[in-house]
């Protein structure tokens, strides 16, 4: 299954920018196939639905990072549990300025 989401915030800038769309592949099959460097969308109990990049995958969970110095990452969020992963980004639709 697939789901469309709109990106808010600049933590993943410059690759993923405010207003971009992403299509994520959902379901346990996709979360099992995650690799380092994948962009994933997951649920966090305090911050809601977040998009981050997989830094490394361990037995205790998935460590994620943003792209900015001030980005929230697993040093604050902790490792993401697989059951909280909503999907892996499979298509990125960038917002060009002329599309604004």
């Amino acid at each position: 299954m697939f789901r469309i989401l709109r990106v808010t915030g600049d933590s993943m800038s410059p690759e993923y920018q405010e207003g971009d769309f992403v299509v994520i592949a959902t379901g346990p099959l996709f979360s099992r196939r995650l690799r380092d460097g994948d962009a994933i969308v997951f649920q966090h109990q305090h911050y809601g639905t977040l998009i981050k990049r997989v830094q490394r995958i361990t037995d205790e969970g998935i460590y994620v990072v943003g792209a900015q110095e001030n980005s929230l990452d697993s040093s604050r969020l902790g490792p993401v549990r697989r059951r909280n992963v909503r999907g892996r980004v499979v298509w990125h639709i960038r917002r060009r300025y002329s599309d604004k």
Binding site: R3, I4, L5, R6, V7, T8, G9, D10, S11, M12, S13, P14, Y16, Q17, E18, D20, F21, V22, V41, Y47, G48, T49, L50, I51, K52, G66, A67, Q68, E69, N70, S71, L72, R76, I93, R94, R95, R96, Y97, D99
Partner: protein
């Protein structure tokens, strides 16, 4: 075009949001501050060169021009360092490193001297940096003369 299609669908169906969240507000980067600071450096150099009178008043003016030149050369360097360090990623923009190093050196030389050519070179190098920055944002740029002295050609986002 695809983005426009998704935007239209989003207005109708309200897609979910995926937050790229930061600890503190971030992502507000704009090279225009550095560009204006570099222009100010050239402006101060021009004022210094054009100071003809003598006496205490002239010394006072010269001291002020030099102080402002020092301040804005350093400000330009600072602003570029922040964008370079916080925004640009080495693996994606490897050529920026060399340009930033050049800007740092020109900024220092602009402080050390009153050489207008150095000031203009600083403006040009920061314009080049601005063009690269806006390109990464997908924003087109245009060149136009600054609408105030020293009226050098600048790179502006074509909004």
């Amino acid at each position: 075009m695809i983005h426009q299609l998704f935007s239209t669908l989003d207005k109708k169906y309200h897609f979910g949001r995926a937050q790229a969240h930061c600890d503190v507000p971030c992502g507000i980067y704009d090279p225009s501050t550095a560009q204006i600071a570099a222009l100010t450096v050239v402006r101060m150099m021009d004022l210094m060169a054009g100071l003809e009178s003598e006496g205490v008043a002239a010394h006072n003016s010269m001291a002020r021009y030099i102080a402002v030149k020092e301040e804005h050369a350093e400000k330009a360097k600072h602003e570029i360092r922040v964008i370079w360090g916080d925004y640009f990623k080495k693996d994606k923009h490897p050529n920026v490193d060399e340009l930033v190093h050049k800007i740092m050196q020109l900024g220092s030389k602009a402080r050390q001297t009153a050489d207008r050519e150095t000031g203009v070179a600083l403006v040009e190098a920061i314009n080049e940096f601005a063009a690269i920055f806006w390109e990464t944002k997908g924003v087109a740029t245009k060149k136009a003369k600054a609408p105030y002295a020293p009226a050098l050609e600048m790179v502006y986002p074509d909004l």
